[in-house]
Amino acid sequence: MPEVDFTVEVCGMAGDGTIAAGGLINEAMSLGGFSVLGFDSYPAEIRGFGRCVTNSRIGSNDIVALGEKTHALISLNDEQSRSRAPFLAEHSLVFFDSNPPAYVSEDNSLLSVLPPGEEVFGMPFGELAVGASGSSRGRNLTALGGFAAVTGTDPNLFRKVIRDKFKSKGEKVVNINVKSFDAGYQYALEKFSDRLKSVFPKIETGHDPQKVTLSGNQAIGMAAIDAGLKLYFGYPITPATPIMEYLAKYLPEHGGRVVQMEDEISSIGAVLGSFYAGARSMTATSGPGFALMTELITHGVMAEIPAVILDAQRGGPATGLPTKTEQSDLHAAVFGGPGDSARIVIAPTNVEECYHFVIRSFQLAEKYQTPVIVLTDFFLDNRVENRPFIRASEGQAASWNVFPDDAFKDRYQRYADTPSGISPRALPGMQGFNFTATGLEHTEKGSPDYSSENHAKMSEKRHRKIRYALKDLEKPAEFFVSDNLDVGVIGWGSTFGSVLEAVEKSRKNGFKVGALKITSLFPYHSETIKAFMAKSRRVLVPELNYEGQLANLIAHLDSKPVERLNFVTGAPIPPSAIQNRIEELLEVVA
């Protein structure tokens, strides 16, 4: 089978069924046995009127990054789709409504901005839908029908996922929708009979049932539920809101509760309160909300109370770019807040890791009695991937709480110093262990004490504990690493996929390039990172931020300067940009 690497976008206005159509493409292609990485974007704060775009990259091999050029554009609203024209590859396929309800001026037309090489497929989306179902609401499905016909996709894949999607709404709705799809499919087969392609050949092995199509947000929500989350506290903010919405829907049936709080301060306050009282809880926010939380996060550090905080990063500073992706909260996550407040910061790089890291974050928080910050970003939260995905067993999500021994009853020291720095923690209700958790500097017993000896001792204890946590934190993973590399690329978070793709491509071009994935951002495995830097003649750190926040964090580990590649376009880093930089560096190396 020829290698497939095809990107399709659906663009329309909210209400056009854009996101649904994109979702169906992802599902159908997954069902067909392809790898899919999808990413939807829409201006959430004006969702009722705004432009929606879904982007799906479909491949016969694993897909780890977003497609850079679009090979097919399905326009459900031409005025909105104009903005997608610059992203079209040469000779892409453009599907549009050839019979819109009203005449459009050239300034609003999609076709007027297309380069001449694109192939246009005009179909009366609405009319076909009306013919099939009596209503034009199925326009998005007739469009999908056209897409399936022209790209040579097995229509049964779409029929199946359409059935699944509408199953809950009854047989009638299912049939209407399948009919709409079929109407578009038949129309395109006939109308474009001399222009049909075969983009998606049938994959004989078919669908791998272990593969599940999931968004980062869904994976996070599922992880929280599988971890036995009891309470979710949050305040709406893009792009974290879908996590709250997911849990609001599913947590109650698992015995948990979602409380929408009055702000982010109260959200983290309540999370600390619940963990203090022994229940797993979490909050998810984005940069502006995270900033509000920092005082209480350091309270968790000082009073040694667990907390799980997910920071779904967006463009900043301040309100910034609410619907754009960025990795610029790293400094805030690691350093934000008053005092020497070391805490644990981890960052998944793909959907599957979102799931496992969130589960792990509860355990780390419990064992190390400190806030654990999980850093994701708009791109990671909203992308969907279909990868083999195995849910954690109850045992894998088990509590890591460290309770005091009964022997210490009535002479309990809440902040007792131990070799690891971990002090067994009692929960309210346990007889004979009453204590006050405090954010004031305190003695081992927990009484406020500002003496210099005590502050020095307890600061050391808390930091020793965080360093000790390294043994439970995932080590950096090496890709294509040999004893000496011309360029070593270090990546984190949502950008790592682009790093990997770029490195793979450079290697195919015959270059000695390797990659290092860092998921534990604080504390971090300095020895492993150092070793990687040492065997790389040049070290490149691509990041979605202006300041080079990871580079700043690790640059001191090696004497040679770290090369930075910083993007603040609000969009994921294109693999080709990293590859170009790698190859530029190679010229310098050579």
Binding site: L231, D263, I265, G269, G273, Y276, M430
Partner: protein, 266 residues
């Protein structure tokens, strides 16, 4: 020879001395001598003793301020949070383990200024937390700045020409926010505090205790012991706390009547 009664009496004595069942912690309060908070401490401790609540099943949550230190002086579980955030933390504690009895305590700066945004929400969510607002109309811990409940004209180092902003009325606010139990009390009357607390703890929702108190160190003019004793007085005999309109009237007409102002019929 020891009679069984004698042995029992000795045991009781020893236990009492050990403080294991006393709500008072071993560390003595660090408040200034004469501070109104001692009276509140007594009122709350008596409530706990009289209700016979196991100390390990009580959590006292506070923010920052002289009042915020409270948990250290209590033998319950304590959660001393940051400035203004006692109520969110208390919400988390209560929802995490509904078997716990939760007290939130804090000053007027803590609860009406920096944390003022939380009061309406815990009230409307009706979380079963008992919140004691220690209203001395001053920032005690930071050494005497005006607070949101200081009367117009309050002179402090931070307001040498007198304050110009209108004070907040915490009782009125709690009523407006829909708190299901509202009492107005006075630190000089620990018995009254105990009585109201016992009633409030039994209220299965959010209970608000607005406690007039004094900062002997930084307020020599306004909410002094003398003034408070002179101004405060009990609610009238025929007062019916189940009538919200009446409660509003009472609070609008009289700033200093004490007792259970409102109690939602269940």
């Amino acid at each position: 020879m020891k009679t069984p009664a004698r042995i029992l009496a000795d045991q009781v004595n020893r236990i009492q001395k050990s403080g294991r069942f006393s709500p008072r912690s071993a560390s003595l309060p660090t408040w200034c001598p004469g501070c109104g908070y001692f009276g509140i401490h007594q009122g709350l401790n008596d409530c706990i003793s009289r209700l016979g609540l196991p100390l390990a099943e009580i959590v006292t949550v506070s923010g920052i301020g002289c009042a915020g230190r409270y948990p250290f002086f209590s033998n319950t579980y304590g959660l001393h949070t940051v400035h203004g955030r006692a109520l969110p933390a208390a919400t988390g504690v209560k929802l995490a383990n509904p078997n716990l009895t939760v007290f939130a305590v804090g000053g007027d700066g803590d609860g009406l200024a920096i944390g003022g945004g939380h009061l309406p929400h815990i009230a409307r969510r009706n979380i079963d937390v008992n919140y004691l607002l220690f209203d001395n109309s001053i920032y005690g811990l930071t050494k005497g700045q005006p607070s949101p409940s200081s009367p117009i004209g309050t002179k402090t180092k931070a307001s040498p020409y007198g304050t110009v902003d209108k004070p907040l009325n915490a009782t009125l606010m709690a009523l407006s926010y829909g708190a299901s139990f509202v009492a107005r009390l006075f630190a000089g009357d620990p018995k009254g505090i105990t009585e109201a607390l016992i009633e409030g703890v039994r209220n299965p929702g959010f209970s608000f205790f607005h406690i007039y108190t004094t900062c002997v160190t930084f307020d020599k003019n306004f909410k002094t012991w003398t003034h408070l004793k002179e101004w405060t007085h009990a609610l009238s005999q025929d007062y019916n706390p189940n009538d919200l309109r009446r409660a509003f009237n009472e609070v609008l007409n009289d700033d200093f009547s004490l007792g259970v102002i409102f109690k939602r019929d269940i």
